[in-house]
Symmetry: C2
Subunit: 295 residues, 2 copies
């Protein structure tokens, strides 16, 4: 019999749980609304009580403690989400299922998923960036997810202001960082209405500014990590016409340095190959890794 793996994409509004041999062969799936931690994790455990799995991968909203030797390893730590600060995730799953649990951020998971089954197949160094309610990024470097002190926090990279723009930005820490200038809530604050309600000239103006700040964020990712490809997902990134503008402005921002033709290829900045399935695919990849480490 083929081994069944478990996958959990843990988000702020829902936890998607799946069982299968991988994202292309899912045999059971459920969505659990994100309520208080005890209820939510209880519902996740009920799902897995009905399915035999050999490992579970969890790709979670953060911040997370990922240092194995840290006493809070496996926790969601200082999240602003009410009730979820310092919530243990890995522990209860491990106790209930007694299988290895893989654990990483949603964006690192998405990066792994895209690397294994999506737009970064065959590449060894690439970045997944999500632009939505927040901005986050996960890097795979030499085939491994990059972890240092903590997962990267690419949403807080600095971005050069568009000349004449005096919008203060919405990041509670930095004001005008990448997330403060380019997230969905930032667009809504700037235009006084959610981005998806904009049309015509207003939409065009919004895309022009949004593309500038996304390109500035990607420029810093290019110079810090030299990825072979950058995958851009998340709700904001799917605004029609946005990514082509981002590509143009990234080329302008790099200004011919270091002059690699690769940076100007249309697939250097690309949408996810798995659509909105990168996250659950990443959770499967984390389960695979956890299983391999145990064997």
């Amino acid at each position: 019999m083929t081994r069944q793996l478990g996958a959990v994409e843990a988000g702020g509004t829902k936890f998607v749980c799946a069982v299968g041999t991988g994202p292309e062969n899912i045999v059971a799936r459920t969505k659990v609304a994100t309520q208080d931690p005890a209820t939510t994790i209880g519902n996740v455990l009920s799902f897995f009580a009905e399915h035999d799995v050999t490992a579970i991968g969890v790709a979670s909203f953060g911040p997370l403690e990922l240092r194995r030797r840290h006493e809070l390893y496996g926790y969601i730590t200082t999240t602003p989400k009410p009730g979820w600060s310092n919530t243990e995730i890995v522990g209860p799953l491990e106790a209930a299922t007694r299988v290895p649990i893989g654990f990483d951020t949603d964006v690192n998971g998405a990066a792994l998923g895209e690397g294994r089954w999506g737009a970064a197949r065959g590449l060894s160094t690439f970045v997944y960036v999500t632009i939505g309610t927040g901005i986050g990024g996960g890097a795979v470097v030499n085939g491994q997810v990059a972890h240092g002190l903590v997962h990267a926090e690419m949403g807080h990279l600095s971005v050069r202001r568009k000349p004449g723009d005096d919008f203060a930005g919405t990041c509670p820490f930095h004001g005008d960082c990448f997330e403060g200038m380019a997230s969905g809530p930032s667009m809504a604050a700037r235009w006084g209405t959610p981005a998806e309600t904009l049309t015509g000239d207003a939409l065009e103006a919004a895309i022009e500014i949004e593309a500038h700040y996304i390109a500035e964020g990607l420029r810093n990712i290019v110079y810090a990590i030299a990825p072979e490809r950058i995958i851009v997902g998340g709700g904001v990134s799917s605004i029609d016409g946005l990514l082509p503008q981002v590509r143009r402005k990234l080329t302008e921002s790099l200004a011919g340095y270091p002059g690699l033709p690769d940076h100007e290829k249309p697939d250097f900045v690309t949408p996810p190959g798995l659509g909105d399935g990168s996250g659950i695919a990443g959770a499967f990849a984390l389960a695979e890794t956890a299983l391999a480490e145990r064997l």
Copy 2:
């Protein structure tokens, strides 16, 4: 008999060549002035003709082609240094010595050297940044040098302007990027005199501005890579009183996010443990790796 390794630190003004079992046990050493490529490489080969080595590591000024399958692998590529554009380095060394040749940038080499013998011993994810005639950075991620499309080009990260500063910057590509605002030549252009000639109030003012831009560059490295430590070397970095200011301004720039006490420790931003020996140590580390890959 212990294996002897060869090491070459290839710089714009000199090539340092050494033979030994490692940087702590060098049995022969020479400096070759950087002239035209043929003369310079000829002199390096003469040195190694007199010494039996089992592998040679070269840590070189760049940009370099490091993709193994690329036809220009082992070359210095588009350097502005007169006469050195598209110069083959690995090929002639391999042909003359018939030993494995390790090859990487000077900053990646320095990062490896600091990881093996210096200020990053025991860490798995860290960055070495040099601030001198240019600004460059090398990252080790999960114990391996980060390479993507190309080595990273951290000198071209963007930096937020210090309010009121209207200096245009000296980067020929970007003007006011990290290197354009904080390299040695940038300081000289801003103050009309090399930094080492400044004293008193002028020096204090220069340090204040310099620390701002270095901190801004390091902030982007922190958020892109989440290193456990950042080692700052290069001539400019050794200006008395500069690093403590950089640490203070980095803390300000991170603004409490993600709130890790590690970022405020005095050794989070630290000078090289090997002083000006990081580069040659890195070349030894590259020789070791080349030997291990061959065996």
